[in-house]
Structures are given as C-alpha cells and as structure tokens.
Symmetry: C2
Subunit: 510 residues, 2 copies
C-alpha cells in the first residue's frame, strides 16, 4: 500500500453512492461535481450555507435579511458548531457601550494597533482594519440579534465565570504589547453562568436565524461542490445518512464548516505542530471538509500551519508568580502572557516542551484544575535534579529571577511587577506544561483565502464565482500566536455576516 | 482596492493574450484551461516536463529511457534551474562505493533512522524509506549519467572546496542525533572546484538528457494546465515571449519548476517565517508557478510553511568554539549543529533573532566571510551592555558555559567536546545572526503532495490523472528543520526520476 492508498482510506468520510449523479468516473469525495452530472436538485435556495456555527449562522441571518432564500446545512444532529463549545467571547472595542459606561477609553486605532502588532507575522491586515472600524456596528448587530451582556468589568485574566463584560481577554497588559498600544478590555462575553458563553451566543443567533426564515437541515453533511463549466459554484452535494442529495445555490455557497483539528491526517500534513497537542478543541465536525471542498475547486488554502494551542496555567492567577521554563531550564516568556501565547511559544518554538516552577505561594491548591505535577522538593537544587535538568541550569535561572524579583523587576521578559516575587518558600514544585501531557486545547486557523467580502480566492488571487467562506474554514483574523480570546468568534460572526451579505447580492446563476 | 484586487495584480506574471484559446471568461493565470478551449496544439509529446533543474532533467531522462517522446520547458533562457546554483550535494548512503573504499560503515537502516529522527515533525516517511533503500542504485544512476566524484573524505563541516566526497554534510555528529543513528558521511559532491557542484551536476545531467533525445525549449514558461472534462491533465499552456503556446502531453505532465522563495506575496501567505530571511536562495524562476498550477486543479499543497533558512556561522570552524544566544542571551542549540539547523531554530523558533559571541580565539579573522559585527569589548559585561542584553544575562550564560567548558563539557546542549573551550581571551565580539541582517539564504520546502511515484494528489487523497510533480514544486523529503546538505538535491533527482518513469507508463490520453 502506498501513500495514496493509505491517504485515500483515511480521508474517506463515508460518502455513499451518488444516486443523483450521472456516472462520473474518477471523482473523489472532495473533488467538485460538474453541473451537467447533476440530474436533479433535491433542494434549491439563493444562498446555501454549510455549517451552523457562529460563521454559518451569521451568514444565514444576513443573507436572509438581504432578501435571499437561505438553506443552512449542519453535519451533526445539533446546530451551533464549535462556536457553541467555545467561551463565546467576542473581541470588540473602539468604545463599545460597555467600555464607555465602565469608564474605559478605547479607540479603533488602539484596537487595530494591538491586533496588528501582536498577531504574528503578516496577519490579515485588511480584515483586521475593517473589523476594528466596524466593531461598534458589530456589537450593535449582536445585541440586536439577542446577545445580552452584563455590564460589569471583570479583573480576572480568565473568562469570567459570571459572564461579566468586558475583561482583558488577551495579551493587552503583557510586555511588550502594553507599550505598543493603549490597553483596553475588549473581551465581551454573553451573559452566562460558567464557561458556556458560546452556547449562550448560539442560543441567541440560531433562533434569530430561524425566526428570520432561514431553513436548516440537521444531520446533512456538505461533501462536494457543484461547478458549472465556466467555473462558477452553483450548489453542492450533501450526504443525508445513506442518501446523497443535490442542493442548488442560485446565488452562492458559503462554506462555514470549521477547521480541521479533528482530522489527524490533515494535521500531519498541514499543521504538524498542532498534532501533539493533547485536546482537539472543537466539535466532531471539524474535519477540514470545507477547506478540502474549496481546495478541490482550486481555492488557495493559506497559513495552514497556524492555530492556537492553549496552556491555561492560570486560573488560579497565583501561578503567574511562578516561572515557565523550557527543557534547558530557561524562561522564554513573561508568565502573565495570555495563555494562548504561552501555548504558542511552547508548541511551536520550544518543541512542545515546557515546565512551570512554583513555590509554596504560587503552586496550585488541592481544589484547582491543575497541570500534571512532576516533582516536589525542598530546594530548587533538588527540584532541578528530580526534573532531569542539567546540573545548575534551573538553579541559575531561579537565582537570576529571584535576584531581580526582590525589586519586583523582570529584566528578561518584563512580567508585570505585580506578579514578580521571589520563588523562596518551599516546597517547590515542577508542573508539566508539555503539549502532549498537559491540558492543551488546540484548534486550527489556516483555511481558504478570502477577501474582506468573504469571497474565496484561487491560487492566482482571483475569486471563484459563487463561493464564500468564513470562520475557521477561511484564513481570517486569528493567526499565530493567538493574542486574545474573542478574536476567532469575532472573525466568525463578522466575516460570516460579510459572506451572507455578498452572497445574497451575487447575480442568480442561470 | 481590496485584497482580491491587490493580490491579483501582484500575482499576475505577464501572461499575454491567449491566442490559442477560444474565448474563456473568468480564467486567471493559474486556473486550468479546459481541453475543449484549446483550438490547436503547438507541440505534442508523450511527457511534458516544466522546469529543467535536477528534478525536471532527471524526469526527462527517465521518461525518454522508457521510450517516451519528451519535451522539457525552461522559463529562463538558461537551463539548470536552482539546482545549478546549489552546491550539487546529493545525500547518499547505505554503503556507496566511496563510503566503502574509504572505510566508512553505513547501512540503509542508519541512514533512514537519521533522516526520520532529525527531519522534524511527521517527515515524508514513505519517501525517505524508499530513497534510503534505493540509495545505491541512485548513486549508480548518477554516475552512469556522467556525474563524477573524487573519492577523498573531507573532514570539513562545510561543502569541500576541492570537490571531495563524501563528507558529513549535516547534523549526523551533533547531539542528539549522533546517539540516535550511527553517523556516516553521506554528502556526495560532484567533482568541482569551489562551490559550483550544482553546475557540475547539471553539466552532466543536461547533456545526458539531450543525447538521449529530450527536446528542450528555453525561455518558455509553463503557465496553465490543460484539463479534460474527466479531470485528466492532457497538456499545458506556456508563454513564449508574447505568444501563448499550447503543449499537448499524451501521457503526463511533470511539474518540476521549483519552489516559491522569489514570490514575496506567497511567502507572506504560506511561509511567513521565511519572508524576512535576507537571501532568497534560488534562481528567478522560483515563483511558485508550478505549485499554483497544481492548486488550480485541486491538488493539495502541504507543509507550505517549511523551508530552509541557513545561517553559515562556519566556515571557519573556529567560530564553533563561540556560543550562539537569543535575545535573552540564552544558548538554544549546540553550535556544532548543521548550519541549516541553526537557521531553522533562529528563523522559526527565536523570532528571527540570534547572536554569535566569540573571544579572541573563536572570532572571525579579517579575511573570513563573516556575519555582521555588532560590538567588540574587553569584557563580557561590556559586550552585554553594548549588545543591549538585560543586565547580567549574558554574563550568566557565559559564566555557566565557561564553568563546564573547563572540562570540555556542555551540559545544556551537548556540543561536541572538541569545540567546547572557555570564552576567556579578550577581545570579545558580538556578531549578528538575525535572519534579516545576517547572510541567511532561504528556500521553500512546501509544495504539491505526491506519492512515492511522484503522482500529484488532491485534497481528498486521490491522484490527479496525468499530473506529476517533483523537486521543490512537490513536498518531498526535505522538511523543517533541514538536516543535511544533499537531501533536497537527492529528493529532486530521485523523485524526478520516479516522475519520469511513471509518466512514461501512463496510458495515452485519447
């Protein structure tokens, strides 16, 4: 068996006999079907949306608002996508009503500067700029569609358990970003108890879509695009149990069916750094089907290696007084960075291996959700030996850190003074932050290249007529490192809306 | 102007009016043309090869040897591709005649174990295994086609100036690989003076192709594939000055037209870590055209973020006695690693920033090709200040290193004892190894997914009939980090051969 054979079997996702198709030789599950192969359409709508998360549902609502007949397909029995599993945070700023009421100054420029500076190498500049400019309008749109917020600032670095908004959801207060752009709390969490903001968000948007007249089919998996000879996308084939159905899209197809963190073979090929992360953080639908459907018609899939890898060393925030080191016992970041930044640096830049070193005042308590404990010792020297570090290496790192921590200074990585205290009080503990063994949720960011109107582009930079993508099926605002909770859901909902708006305007395919 | 418009203009590469085409609306330069749009063929061959580097030329030779009529197109006026600019090293082992004659033991297993262990996350296992198994046969093939080797071991870590073979061309002797697989010198350099082994290699293969009857067109750029309605690739459109020509491939098209290091827009989207590297190390043709032509017909392009970034801190080898540190003054690798490993760690894992610290015995001499000198000082403390490191950080790193170096030990990164000596003798110097300012040649490794037969696969893992790819247009054996000189040319020539062999066997398209 060769690569091709093995790949094929793993990639296959159970597409049954294509009864609606004329005999078509050599077609694989992701290659498009030709329009002339489709003998009959089972459903017809102006805009067909694959996926019912924040991106798909926002697309559906906007397309419907523009007068289009909209059909939304969800592969799983339950709608809401991975968005419903998320914290539901939306990154919004520039002076939202909540920011203003609570006395936080923010500006479109500060928000944009932060997102561009912290978003890694060559982030999606045009999208970030448009998103920041429209942030207030997007907030209003979410509220108008039933998303409620509790106007109460949360000082927690972690997603507030009481659904307070806004909070500092990312790296805004950490070095070096706090000096690059004026920080403001921009994490807006739907009113909720616990960490179920994503469910709350979708419990607003899904009924809004339904009452607007969006039709939804559950348990129907979009599998292949249908293409006219002139290259225009005019529908898709979907699987409904054993039955293949053909769905016509008069104006446009919106692919909003998530990323590919659940597809191990795709991770190996495209995002090997995320393969070892312990927890694929998405629902079962995130198999990269939408991305591969797009690739099948020549779409460019970009930044496919990027994603988030989260190492939630806090809460509790007491652990931020500890230090994070690599296998050479060297600190490599300010520990008060957003936990997705810590995860990024570990997964991508430290070969997946990192440790948290604490003393009695900074270790996890018994009741805490915690990272795996590797060793406990009465001295740093003993901890160093127990952890298998090179002799003297951890002692040296701690001594250097402690020496400056006496004055609340971190000359190496500039952790905020409020968390800089000497590691002095035994017992000392060593926790495992390695992406394989720690709790390390991961998700993909790479996807189809789209314009700010969510139009899908091919490898020549030209649009593929009739095809749109949003959310994690597209390469959007989130890039590596991931800088703040809410950028992904913000991207899904905002550019999902653009997909719906523009797909509804597309001329009817003949 | 939006993303789409901007992208399009940058991507356009001057394709003129497609005179051979029937009117085709909406086609971009990389999207395929439909067979029925082609009114006439200007050329016909069994196998059409795009690109004349080691991959394309090897494909052409083998296809011709199998009895196929072969037409090879080269975009530039001169054949040889980026291979002709390279050192021409081919990574060969398992007991080549040179290894045996010089008394080096090697085995297929040791070679394979090294390549799999050092090749990063999820390297191309099936390809590496096949390549190692066939390494001796491939050596014989190269020799049979005119490539000559001087049987003389070179102890140099750098490409030998006198064309001696073999030499240790990679990380074989560095930690941790020297303990994972029995090291053997596997870098085979064509007989040459200076570093022009690539030219020597191509001066053997190109005449071999010509005398075998391969026809070559220079200054003809493959631009778009031609596809039958059933999905089979049956030719390509190429640009010859102002004129678009249609070239029919009865059996198969081989895309072997390099990577995309010369395409700045593609680097931003696909390999942002390579964007800042100071020297795009390839000839002008490496614009990603072949990769995008493949993507246009639905091929999967994988591992697109990977590539090599070389930081040649040696020669001279005296500098290996120095230490390499990051912006926090921490050592992050054994300095005797292959220089592409140092480049990889810097470009990908250290945010592009690194420094070399030397003393009087380890600094560059006046006549050496050298990295940019940032500072010189009589003490490490003064050098630390001049370099803008956090106070005490560099002093601490050097003190720790020196303390163990007294006993020729490097407990942190296990540099080989022969290079571990204290940095003790002023003046001390700080050189810039940052990828933007140092001499840092870079090249891309990502490309079309292919089988071990060089067949191109789509995003569903199915082959695209009639389409083959090899060399840096494909995702082959070289992955990140790059582990040894000669793996890329080895991949180009060996899998180029597979492309030719299998394309020649394909059934004639009707």
């Amino acid at each position: 068996m060769n690569v091709s054979d093995k790949s094929r079997r793993r990639f296959l996702s159970g597409l049954g006999t294509a009864g609606v198709l004329a005999a078509a030789a050599g077609c694989d599950p992701r290659a498009p079907a030709a329009r002339r192969e489709v003998r009959q359409w089972d459903y017809t709508a102006d805009v067909v949306v694959a996926g019912s998360g924040a991106a798909g549902t926002s697309a559906a609502i906007e397309a419907r608002a523009a007068g289009a007949e909209v059909l939304m397909l969800e592969r799983l029995p339950k709608t809401g996508g991975s968005s419903a599993m998320s914290g539901g945070v939306c990154y919004l700023g520039g002076g939202t009503p909540l920011q203003k009421a609570l006395g936080f100054e923010d500006s479109i420029e500060a928000m944009r500067d932060f997102m561009l500076a912290a978003g890694g190498l060559h982030p999606a500049k045009e999208k970030i700029e448009l998103y920041c400019e429209r942030s207030l309008e997007h907030f209003d749109w979410l509220v108008a569609h039933g998303v409620k917020y509790v106007q109460k600032f949360s000082e927690s670095k972690e997603l507030p358990f009481d659904g307070s908004s806004p909070y500092f959801s990312g790296c805004e207060l950490a070095a070096p970003w706090r000096d690059i752009a004026r920080p403001a709390p921009r994490g807006h969490v739907p009113t909720t108890a616990g960490h179920t903001g994503g469910r709350t968000l979708m419990e607003a948007l899904l009924p809004a879509a339904e009452s607007a007249g969006v039709k939804t089919l559950r348990g129907v998996s979009a599998e292949r695009l249908v293409r006219e000879d002139d290259g225009r996308i005019v529908g898709l084939l979907a699987q409904e149990g054993e039955r293949t159905i053909a769905v016509r899209a008069r104006r446009g197809v919106v692919l909003a069916c998530g990323g590919f963190i659940q597809n191990r073979e795709m991770l190996k090929r495209y995002a090997p750094e995320l393969y070892d992360c312990s927890v694929p953080w998405a629902n079962a639908g995130d198999m990269g089907i939408g991305i591969r459907m797009g690739m099948g018609v020549g779409a460019a899939a970009i930044r496919m290696h990027q994603g988030f890898a989260i190492l939630p060393l806090y809460p509790p925030e007491r652990t931020i007084h500890g230090i994070v080191v690599n296998r050479a016992a060297q600190r490599f970041l300010p520990e008060d960075s957003y936990y997705a930044y810590a995860g990024h640096e570990t997964a991508y830049n430290q070969h997946g291996v990192a440790y948290l070193v604490t003393d009695a005042d900074s270790s996890y308590d018994d009741g805490d959700f915690r990272m795996p404990l590797l060793a406990e010792a009465a001295s740093i020297a003993a901890l160093e030996q127990a952890g298998g570090f090179a002799e003297g290496a951890l002692q040296q790192s701690v001594a250097f850190y402690n020496q400056h921590a006496e004055r609340s200074v971190d000359p190496l990585w500039h952790k905020h003074p409020k968390w800089v205290t000497p590691l002095a009080k035994p017992p000392f503990r060593l926790y495992d932050l390695s992406v394989r063994s720690a709790f390390c949720p991961a998700h993909t960011f790479g996807g189809l290249e789209t314009t700010v109107r969510a139009e899908v582009l091919d490898a020549g930079g030209e649009r593929i007529p009739g095809l749109y993508a949003a959310g994690r099926t597209s390469a959007g605002m989130p890039s590596a490192p991931y800088i703040a909770s809410g950028v992904s859901i913000g991207d899904c909902s905002f550019f999902g809306r653009q997909a719906g708006i523009h797909a509804a305007k597309e001329e009817v395919a003949v």
